[in-house]
């Protein structure tokens, strides 16, 4: 615990906030150019910063900050351990590519400044959520990101955009209600809200049923945010109407941060993964894999199909984490990173197609590979890595998850997970067949390739897919192993590190 470097961590929240604040003013000056540059600079800086800070973290253990402001002792405790570093890096990668993509994409939406401010607030909320060590601050930052995302989902102002965003708002309001109920019960039991004290408190007062009830509440609340199956209904409606970069941000990162991160952090580090929790997590994961995959096959709208596929991939993450074995957790976390990368790539691709052809209907699209070669190749890479074909990154995380399942004797789960990835490949081949691989239709004769910035974003993500796939040992060693050690050590991690 080195004080003094607190400022380093605080930057993650303050910088996007400040830039978001001044963005409307800049919006007045110049409609398009300056906001673009400014936002891309901030997201790029965040990306570089998280990697650099990450480097130090790896060598010097955990970062907690306590610093004073204008003389008064402020106790803002932010922790950056391996797991939150991994999430930070994921957030910044996807947000950088999304902002790059939206330079061209948001042209015809108008009012970029507004859009960027909301986006930056969402990033700030997510960063805050990842860094916080306190149950209630997780809830607060969760709400921040949620509010920003309501606004962004409804950005298109069309009838169904508004309706989808309203539905999303209402459902997450209910979810937050249950989360607050859970937090208050925990507060009642342990008298405090910071992870370490809650962990100690729970350990002292052996209220097993109470903790179980709170776990259920959290699972419902954060599960809805993470679009697990019984609570997934809002995602497939929110995505088609949201603008492409937003749905990339939404299903690429927001689900994982506000849903998966919260559940994993609380269940593994605070409550400690009991047999009941792990079975519930695994069964939920399995159901969401199959429900998501099977519905996705019948879809005709490309974005709805990608939304359902996100639900199914989230299922893989939860199955991985649910096993509780270090390898399973490693696989789950690796899948968080991979899924963020290739799912946002696929959404950005669908955005590019929508902008070029104006339609999202799969059966209307002909062989676009001729006119849009770059988008076709990146989409192919993305689809193959989702399905878990070896040279790309998706394969390694699924492989680790399946090995963990087999090692913990969950053979049925392993077989079903494998079947899930076959069905995943099936509907991605349907996309390929309809959108790119078939004979070019006449009406798309004059379709042009996606503009520069959009294709540049997709290429970066596609390269990332390949690079992670090929250099997976390096990626695992630097980012994932520290995160896994923390989670695998479970509740004991809090005793010796954070009990100040």
């Amino acid at each position: 615990m080195t004080n003094g470097e607190g400022e380093l961590l605080f930057v993650f929240i303050v910088l996007p906030l400040v830039v978001a604040g001044i963005m409307p003013l800049i919006g007045k000056l110049s409609k398009k150019v300056v906001p673009d540059i400014l936002t891309n600079l901030t997201t790029f800086f965040l990306l570089a910063y998280s990697i650099i800070v990450g480097k130090q973290i790896i060598f010097s253990g955990i970062y907690t900050t306590k610093f004073s402001w204008f003389g008064e002792p402020m106790n803002i405790s932010l922790t950056l351990d391996g797991f939150s570093l991994l999430m930070l890096v994921t957030i910044s990668i996807v947000s950088f590519c999304v902002t790059l993509f939206s330079i061209d994409y948001m042209e015809h939406y108008g009012h970029k400044a507004n859009y960027y401010s909301l986006l930056l607030i969402m990033i700030a909320g997510m960063n805050g959520l990842v860094l916080s060590t306190d149950l209630f601050s997780i809830y607060v930052f969760l709400e921040v990101a949620a509010i920003a995302s309501y606004g962004l989902v409804a950005y298109g102002l069309g009838h169904n955009e508004l309706e989808a965003s309203f539905k999303y708002l209402m459902l997450s309001a209910v979810a937050s209600g249950f989360i607050v109920l859970g937090i208050s019960i925990i507060f009642a039991c342990t008298g405090s809200l910071t992870f370490s004290e809650v962990a100690i408190g729970i350990h002292l007062v052996n209220a097993k049923y109470l903790v179980g009830f709170c776990a259920a509440l959290f699972l419902m609340g954060f599960g809805l945010k993470a679009a697990l199956v019984p609570f997934h209904a809002w995602l497939p409606d929110a995505h088609p109407s949201a603008p492409a970069p937003i749905s990339a941000m939404l299903s690429g990162v927001l689900i994982k941060v506000s849903g998966a991160y919260a559940i994993i952090r609380i269940f593994l580090n605070v409550f400690g993964l009991t047999y009941a929790l792990s079975t519930v997590l695994m069964y939920l994961g399995l159901i969401s894999i199959f429900v998501g995959a099977i519905i996705a096959i019948g879809q005709n709208d490309m974005k709805r199909m990608l939304a359902y596929s996100s639900i199914s991939q989230i299922g893989y993450i939860f199955i991985g984490i649910g096993t509780g074995s270090p390898l399973g957790i490693l696989g789950g976390l690796f899948h968080i990173l991979n899924h963020a990368v290739f799912k946002s790539l696929l959404f950005l691709n669908s955005g590019a197609i929508e902008q070029a052809t104006g339609t999202r209907e799969l059966d209307k699209m002909g062989g676009l590979a001729k006119q849009m070669p770059l988008t076709a190749t990146t989409n192919a890479i993305g689809s193959l890595s989702v399905a878990g074909i070896p040279p790309f990154n998706g394969f390694w995380s699924k492989l680790l998850i399946i090995i963990a399942l087999v090692q913990t004797q969950h053979y049925a789960f392993a077989v079903l997970a494998v079947l899930g990835s076959v069905i995943t490949l099936w509907y991605y081949l349907i996309i390929q067949r309809n959108a790119f691989f078939g004979k070019p239709e006449e009406i798309w004769k004059n379709v042009k390739e996606a503009p520069f910035w959009m294709s540049c974003a997709t290429v970066i993500l596609a390269l990332l897919c390949i690079v992670i796939g090929v250099t997976f040992p390096f990626v695992i060693k630097t980012f994932l192993v520290p995160a896994t050690d923390i989670l695998a050590s479970g509740v004991s991690y809090l005793y010796n590190f954070l009990g100040y």
């Binding site: 390898l327 062989g367 193959l384 399905a387 878990g388 074909i389 070896p390 040279p391 394969f395 492989l399 399946i402 090995i403 087999v406 090692q407 392993a414 077989v415 494998v418 990835s421 076959v422 490949l425 099936w426 081949l429 349907i430 390929q432 067949r433 691989f437 078939g438 004979k439 040992p473 695992i476 060693k477």
Partner: protein, 490 residues
């Protein structure tokens, strides 16, 4: 050959085609001719590299290159007689096919992707052949699945792409189930490295799963329907798939995993020959009834693959040697058959054999090459096919399975019947049906077909040269087998 040389050659054999594949788009920018030239040079250099490993391996010594990564996924290359023989067979025929495709798809579009995928295919095949780590073997296995998906869907028509998807899905299902089998083994021996696990007993469940994967890749009965459907691809692709590379992967994996390394529970040694013989019987029956030229040849591949599996599953030296030799002979002969079919289709644009007839007058060379290759596939002596089929049958007999050997010979007669049915219908018979006059156009296509037919004949007559390498490979495989064989009262 110093150790350094072998190491470099082994890794070169894999890297040259894969990196070469990536350079093809660059050459395409220069000019179409350059692209074709580059592709053929790369393909032939791969096969030359593979052949250069023979002197090292013929002495019977093997060479293992190991690069440890995390979690037991260390990258292991093994250069021994089995892998060298397999890589030569695959790369030589692959190179010929690339040469042939220069003439064949000269006027189709997206050829760059075609050459890229073919070279990537050969490269990943080399990778698979030399890798001794189950996970890397799986990786190359999947890359070939991707390449075959793109190649089968080459003509981009809607129903063709549906067939390509079907092929990709079935092979992926099999491969993923096989991966489960690997993980079961990993669970038991917690290592993926084959070199350290020679002779260990493997649980029945893992065997079943891995077999499903192999059967899906090399198209044996329950999972074979994708291979005839893949007939819609350009015939260079089908010949690449059927003869040279794709179907051989499953069989090679069987040889490397179940003959070279693991020992299966005893019931499996009775069950596999039965499955495999039924598969080749059904495929032979189907080939007798089919009317599409390429589908017949595809079904005949399915039935010949049955023989290779039969040879390998007999677990005695002569059976295994026969199966390994079969790989080469079948590759040459079936490649020739497909390329002749390619010439016929290229000129007449007809695929249904009932519409064709009397082509021997206009295309004499193709007809003769077709006949020679057909005889080699049937297994008639002066051609190489005879020795391999003979040894496989002898292996089956020595393993005590007389009924299966008898059925095998009956299937050989069936093969003769349907191959000659095709030959009579397409090349002999009355010429009136075809109105357009067909001449044998491109010389490069003919040259390749003649080379393949010649190789089948020469391989038959001078069979003792390939046999040397095969004997070394068999002795290596049976090194751990002999105590087990003794136990089986042979």
């Amino acid at each position: 050959m110093t150790k350094k040389m072998n190491e470099s050659f082994a890794s070169l054999v894999i890297l040259v085609p894969i990196i070469g594949a990536f350079t093809i788009p660059l050459f395409a920018k220069i000019s179409p001719r350059m692209r074709v030239l580059a592709a053929t040079i790369i393909a032939f250099s791969t096969s030359l590299l593979a052949m250069s490993l023979i002197p090292f391996v013929i002495g019977g010594n093997e060479f293992i290159l190991r690069k440890p990564l995390i979690l037991g996924f260390d990258f292991v290359l093994i250069v021994d007689a089995l892998s060298v023989f397999m890589s030569i067979a695959a790369s030589f025929i692959g190179a010929l096919i690339v040469l042939y495709s220069a003439g064949y798809i000269s006027h189709d579009e997206n050829q760059t992707e075609y050459y890229f995928m073919v070279l990537l295919f050969i490269g990943s095949m080399m990778g698979l052949v030399y890798s001794a780590n189950l996970i890397f073997m799986y990786i190359f296995w999947e890359i070939t699945a991707i390449c075959s998906w793109r190649l089968i869907g080459f003509y981009r028509l809607k129903e063709f792409v549906v067939k390509a998807n079907k092929a990709f899905l079935i092979t992926f299902l099999g491969a993923v189930v096989m991966l489960l089998g690997f993980i079961l083994i990993y669970n038991q021996t917690n290592s993926f490295d084959l070199t350290t696990m020679r002779g260990t007993m493997v649980p029945g469940m893992a065997v079943l799963l891995i077999l499903i994967g192999m059967f899906s890749k090399s198209a044996t009965l329950p999972l074979h329907t994708w291979l005839p459907d893949a007939g819609i691809a350009p015939s260079t692709v089908t010949s690449l798939l059927h003869a040279a590379v794709l179907v051989k992967i499953g069989v090679y994996a069987y040889a490397r995993i179940f003959c070279w390394t693991f020992q299966m529970p005893d019931t499996w040694y009775q069950v596999i020959p039965v499955i495999v013989i039924i598969s080749s019987l059904v495929a032979a029956g189907a080939a007798l009834v089919e009317n599409d030229l390429k589908r017949i040849l595809a079904y005949s591949t399915v039935s010949q693959i049955g023989y290779i599996f039969l040879g390998l599953s007999t677990m005695n030296p002569i059976g295994i040697a026969g199966a390994i030799l079969f790989l080469l002979m079948h590759g040459l002969a079936k490649g020739g058959l497909f390329l002749c079919a390619g010439i016929v289709e290229h000129n007449t644009h007809k695929r249904d054999i009932r519409e064709l007839g009397g082509l021997i007058k206009t295309m004499p060379i193709t007809a003769i090459c077709f006949l020679l290759c057909a005889l080699s596939v049937i297994g008639i002596p002066p051609f190489g096919g005879f020795f391999s089929k003979f040894m496989v049958i002898m292996g089956a007999v020595k393993a005590g399975q007389f009924w299966i050997a008898g059925l095998g010979l009956f299937i050989a007669v069936l093969t003769a019947v349907y191959l000659f049915r095709v030959f009579n219908m397409v090349f002999l018979g009355d010429y009136s049906k075809l109105d357009i006059d067909i001449k044998e156009k491109t010389k490069s296509m003919l040259f390749v077909v003649i080379v393949l037919a010649g190789c089948s004949l020469l391989a038959g007559i001078f069979v003792n040269y390939p046999m040397k390498l095969v004997n070394v490979a068999t002795s290596e495989i049976t090194r751990w087998l002999t105590p087990w064989l003794a136990a089986q009262h042979y």
